[in-house]
């Protein structure tokens, strides 16, 4: 349905409005979180389709962003109270992606201007929205920065400059590494083509990240039928414990 709409939109545009457009390929368009899931590398590659010859002037640059589902995040700050460190102030950051990676074909400030970044929300700091911060809390900005810092440390947020390879201003490819601790959901993948810091074309698609198999069954069950899940956990645990000890005893006696 969406694709049909997108196609209609493209058709309705005058032919010269988009001189260069992206033809995209993904090494996979879904990531399955299985029991042994240990992160995933997604190869994003594509070509630039154009009706006219390659324009003169600034070279073509490519930006690839992959963004996990956005959710509100409660950020808490510790302070020393009675000799121990206690959570005191908290700020609700309205929306922050659970995962965010930006790959560019050149240093970030070379590929895009500040205004264009602001418009398309490309850099990590722009991807986070925090409007409802209480004014009475000192350094509310620190809280949003803490989200970026903590998630960068756990490799959930990253900016990888010069990691998109562009050949002949026509072919591009990059690899996005996703860590093991992923949240489920649709990961929106955006590709921007820029010349002289201005976005000339963009393309968007999604990568689905979902638990599968046993992981899926257990997770759904724990949410939808918590009582059954609780009883089952107890039963499985008792059976496993009792089984293991019986097996061990038999092993020793034989």
């Amino acid at each position: 349905m969406l694709r049909v709409l997108a196609a209609l939109c493209l058709l309705s545009l005058p032919a010269h409005a988009v001189e260069e457009s992206v033809v995209l390929g993904l090494s996979k368009d879904r990531v399955a979180i299985t029991a042994t899931f240990d992160g995933s590398d997604i190869l994003v590659f594509g070509a630039i389709k154009r009706e006219a010859p390659i324009p003169e002037g600034d070279p073509l640059e490519v930006i690839v962003t992959v963004s996990g589902p956005s959710e509100p995040v409660m950020v808490r700050r510790k302070e020393r109270k009675f000799g121990i460190w206690v959570n005191t102030d908290s700020v609700l950051v309205d929306s922050a992606p659970s995962f965010y990676a930006v790959a560019t074909s050149a240093p970030f400030d070379k590929v895009i201007t500040n205004t264009e970044d602001l418009r398309h929300r490309i850099s990590i700091n722009r991807a986070i929205r925090s409007v409802g911060a209480d004014m009475h809390i000192q350094g509310a900005q620190d809280f949003a920065e803490a989200v970026v810092r903590i998630r960068e440390k756990s490799r959930l947020y990253s900016i990888r400059e010069n990691t998109v390879a562009v050949d002949e201003q026509t072919l591009f490819r990059t690899s996005i590494a996703m860590p093991a601790d992923l949240t489920e959901g649709d990961y929106s993948t955006r590709i921007f083509l820029t010349r002289g810091g201005q976005v000339v074309s963009s393309f968007e698609t999604t990568i689905g990240v979902h638990k599968v198999g046993l992981e899926r069954i257990l997770f759904n069950m724990s949410r939808q039928q918590p009582i059954v899940y609780g009883l089952m956990s107890l039963a499985i645990a008792i059976a496993a414990g009792w089984g293991a000890s019986t097996a061990f005893r038999m092993l020793r006696n034989s």
């Binding site: 510790k78 959570n87 810092r149 903590i150 093991a180 046993l214 609780g230 107890l234 293991a244």
Partner: protein
């Protein structure tokens, strides 16, 4: 081999979990303790969210106590009546504990509460055990034999009303003290993710005056139901019981416990106790330093459960 835990939503090395389970199992076999009070902090250290660690540990304790209580039933060393009274207190306490747990979770203070509980209890118990076993070793060296046991005190516990006869324990005491002990241990079980044997056993011996031979079986009996109830409460209100994590810890734990029992039988009781005391104090010290020293990262992220 990395394994993705479906509820904790983190990826952990399966052998690390089996190893942790095994290590705590060895200790619990050696010292005859449940090991929940060591396992839960260890799970914090390897990065399992505290709420998941506490709930899952409760689940694991049910299972690891189960085979123990069967053995005690065969030996008829379970005081069912006393267990029942403790249980009434325990279930009430567990329900109360989960309410407190969820309230503090909404305030963002649950980590602090859990860690504070651990520091206080591990510190007190570890300290007492350390002093007591040091004295025992010194006495054993001096006299070469143990002094005759002191007669049990018959104080305020026996002056309370609602007396009942507990035949297996050979006691005729009020039901209030066991109810209170059960309640207290129930609260701790819900907040700390422990069975509470390390508090229950001394309380049964010193406060209730129960004979030592029925203490372990009865406390295991009570612990199974209280932790089972706690597991259900956490599973239905917080969705934090991770069955994959529980099973991995359990399999390691059961095997470790068998090895531990063999090692424990070859060591002297005082030496065992002093080792256990040191271990408890080390874990306590690590947790305390987390609270006392300035953390490297002052900010923490959480989901927007609260206001």
């Amino acid at each position: 081999m990395q394994i993705y835990l479906p509820i904790a939503e983190v990826s952990v090395n399966a052998f690390l979990l089996l190893g942790l389970g095994g290590m705590v199992g060895v200790l619990s076999g050696m010292f005859g303790v449940g090991g929940g009070f060591l396992m839960t902090p260890l799970l914090f250290f390897i990065g399992i969210p505290p709420a998941v660690a506490v709930a899952t540990e409760a689940n694991q304790i049910v299972a690891s106590s189960f085979s123990g209580v069967l053995a005690h039933f065969r030996r008829k060393t379970v005081d069912l009546k006393m267990g029942g009274v403790l249980l009434i207190g325990g279930l009430t306490g567990a329900a109360l504990g989960v309410v407190v747990f969820n309230y503090l979770k909404s305030l963002g203070q649950v980590d602090l509460l859990v860690k504070l509980c651990y520091v206080v209890f591990l510190g007190v118990i570890g300290g007492l055990m350390f002093i007591e076993s040091l004295n025992a070793i010194r006495k054993a060296r001096k006299a070469g034999g143990s002094p005759p046991p002191k007669r049990r005190q018959r104080g305020w516990v026996h002056a309370l009303p609602f007396k009942a006869r507990f035949r297996t324990s050979g006691l005729y005491i009020s039901v209030i003290p066991p109810l209170v002990v059960g309640l207290f241990v129930g609260v701790l079980s819900a907040i700390m993710g422990v069975g509470g044997g390390f508090i229950m056993v001394p309380a049964m011996i010193y406060i209730l005056g129960m004979p030592t031979k029925v203490v372990v079986g009865t406390s295991l009996f009570q612990i199974i139901f209280v932790t089972g109830f706690t597991t259900m409460l956490h599973a239905t209100t917080n969705y934090t019981v991770d069955v994959v994590l529980a099973v991995l810890l359990l399999v390691g734990g059961v095997i470790g416990a068998q090895i531990g029992t063999v090692i424990g039988a070859r060591m002297k009781a005082e030496q065992l106790r002093i080792l256990l005391a040191l271990l408890v104090l080390v874990v306590c010290g690590k947790l305390a330093s987390d609270l006392l020293l300035q953390p490297a990262e002052l900010f923490t992220l959480g989901t927007s459960g609260g206001h």
